[in-house]
């Protein structure tokens, strides 16, 4: 242990900026990657139980090592390039999907102002990073030189751009009530004497639902997984991918799902604040465990949706996004403005 600390201090004294950069990159990455591995195991277990079967149970205790076995299998497999594929872009696409998905974690706080970057424009940064992820999918579809992949990429691009509008508007109403783009300030604005009923889910109930549903649509998960659509276009944008690049797409999708599961509690459910009154002792104290418990609920809700609903038809997805969500969010931005103007909801009271 001492050697590691000595080595770190040596690096920090001679190359301070570089060491900071590497440390800032590595520390969020490892927990995210391990969380993704656990989440994949949990998904298979939960869906197994919902189907009345066991799920992974052979490798490691409770099948816990199954994901790691799968990862090593994928990493050791051959990468197959389709004929006449654009090789450079074919390999760039998974990275272009992964890097923004990991970069977005820089501004996610787990306590009041406890984040890798406590940026003032944190929420905007997050939105910018998640909107960049779609490039990975589009480029993958185009560079594969395959009809199915192209169709998947087109579907995904249209879907992500459509649902981003509804998502953006639901964030606008949160910003109006919180009066800040900083994620820690947004959570602190939800604190209050009424506990649970001071959080933004109550004044912004339609936005809360729309945000989560749009989040599911943005991450291309069931029932919105038109980009993959196994029964229609084989596997969509990643139909030609095998081995390590496929594993990277997989990692990106699950990292984005966990990110959305973090964002919903942070924006609407008081983040690390406790649902109970402060007078209840340790139950009423705020802490990271509340945030993780809420995150775990939404992460499991993703799997619940997957096991419950059939896939949407494409025109239904577009109709829901443009004709239902966007009008509701537009109206509710106005309602949120009234709430703020007339003082019906006071931030941090």
């Amino acid at each position: 242990m001492n050697y590691i600390i000595d080595a770190y201090q040596f690096c920090a004294s001679y190359f301070p900026t570089l060491t900071m950069a590497v440390a800032l990159l590595l520390f969020p990455l490892l927990p995210v990657i391990i969380a993704v591995a656990m989440y994949v195991w949990w998904e298979r277990k939960v869906i197994g139980w919902m189907h009345i079967r066991l799920g992974p149970s052979k490798i490691g205790p409770f099948g816990l090592a199954q994901t790691f076995a799968d990862v090593f299998k994928l990493l050791l497999k051959e990468i197959i390039y389709p004929a006449k594929a654009n090789k450079g872009l074919f390999l760039l696409a998974p990275l272009w999907a992964l890097v923004p998905a990991l970069a977005a974690w820089a501004v996610v706080p787990i306590g009041s102002h406890v984040a890798w970057s406590d940026a003032n424009a944190g929420l905007l940064f997050l939105l910018a990073m998640t909107s960049m992820g779609v490039y990975g999918i589009i480029i993958a579809g185009w560079a594969s030189n395959s009809r199915y992949a192209m169709l998947g990429a087109m579907r995904s691009a249209a879907q992500v751009v459509s649902y981003e509008i509804a998502m953006g508007f639901s964030l606008v109403s949160v910003l109006i009530l919180a009066g800040s783009l900083n994620l820690s300030d947004i959570v602190n604005a939800q604190a209050g004497s009424k506990g649970l009923f001071d959080w933004f889910w109550l004044p912004l109930l339609p936005m809360f639902i729309i945000y989560f549903v749009s989040g599911v649509a943005e991450t291309n998960r069931l029932p919105f997984d038109m980009a993959e659509g196994e029964s229609e276009i084989v596997a969509g944008f990643h139909v030609e991918y095998s081995g390590a690049p496929f594993a990277v797409f997989f990692l990106t999708e699950y990292a984005n799902m966990i990110l959305v599961s973090f964002m919903v509690p942070l924006l609407f459910l008081g983040g690390w604040l406790s649902p109970f009154p402060v007078s209840w002792g340790w139950l009423g104290a705020p802490g990271w465990w509340w945030l993780f418990a809420k995150m775990f609920f939404f992460a499991t809700a993703y799997l619940w949706l997957r096991a419950t609903f059939p896939r949407y038809r494409y025109d239904q997805i577009m109709r829901l996004g443009w004709k239902v969500f966007i009008p509701i969010t537009l109206a509710w931005v106005f309602v949120a403005g009234c709430m703020k103007y007339f003082g019906w909801v006071v931030a941090g009271a």
């Binding site: 003032n120 490039y135 589009i138 981003e164």
Partner: protein
């Protein structure tokens, strides 16, 4: 040379090379991707100048939305690029002339400004608030009318774009979602009560 200065030169160099690549690469898809890189590195230089709201808004709007649609169109169209490139040399003098005039104008502007105005302190820093907050206050108090006019113009542009591309086709069968939702299960399926097995075949009676 400080670290921010080195980063600035790096980002500026990437911006310039990416912008050059936009007009010089062969494939339209590569050109669009180079344009994405140009926007992104320009946003990075803005971040170095502490304009975090503008930088992230540039990434969000241009990289996250506009260029996605652009790429979408470029991928869908199977553009035959060779005839398009024939005019490249012919248009080069005009392009160079425009570029040089723009460069001179920009340099003149920077020169005049630096002579004219004493160095202004960062107004957001002076007011003791974040860049985003200061920008929002300025935009919605001082410049509300221009802001609203710009929004109106954009809305008119969107509305105008729709009739231009709207074509009414006859014989298109549309879904009526309200009707679909109103459908009851008993209108579509009929549950038939019947025995689960066929009656066992009667043993053949032999005629005596």
């Amino acid at each position: 040379m400080t670290f921010p200065l080195i980063s600035f030169y790096l980002f500026a160099a990437i911006t310039t090379f990416a912008a050059l690549a936009v007009v010089s690469v062969r494939s339209p898809v590569h050109a669009a991707l180079c344009l994405v890189l140009t926007f992104f590195s320009a946003a990075c230089t803005w971040l170095l100048a502490d304009a975090e709201f503008l930088a992230i808004a540039l990434v969000l709007v241009y990289v996250g939305a506009v260029m996605v649609l652009f790429l979408f169109v470029v991928m869908m169209l199977d553009v035959d690029i060779d005839p398009l490139r024939e005019g490249f040399i012919k248009a080069l003098p005009v392009g160079l002339a425009v570029a040089i005039v723009m460069l001179v104008e920009m340099l003149a502007l920077i020169g005049v400004r630096s002579l004219q105005v004493p160095q202004i302190a960062d107004p957001a820093l002076a007011a003791g608030m974040s860049n985003t907050q200061w920008l929002a206050l300025a935009l919605f108090n001082q410049f509300l009318l221009p802001f609203e006019v710009a929004a109106l113009i954009l809305t008119v542009a969107i509305v105008a774009a729709i009739p231009l591309t709207l074509r009414r086709r006859s014989g298109v069968r549309m879904q009526n979602p309200a009707q679909q939702v109103r459908v009851q299960a008993r209108e579509r399926i009929r549950v038939v009560k019947m025995a689960a097995e066929r009656p066992a075949p009667q043993p053949e009676t032999t005629t005596p």
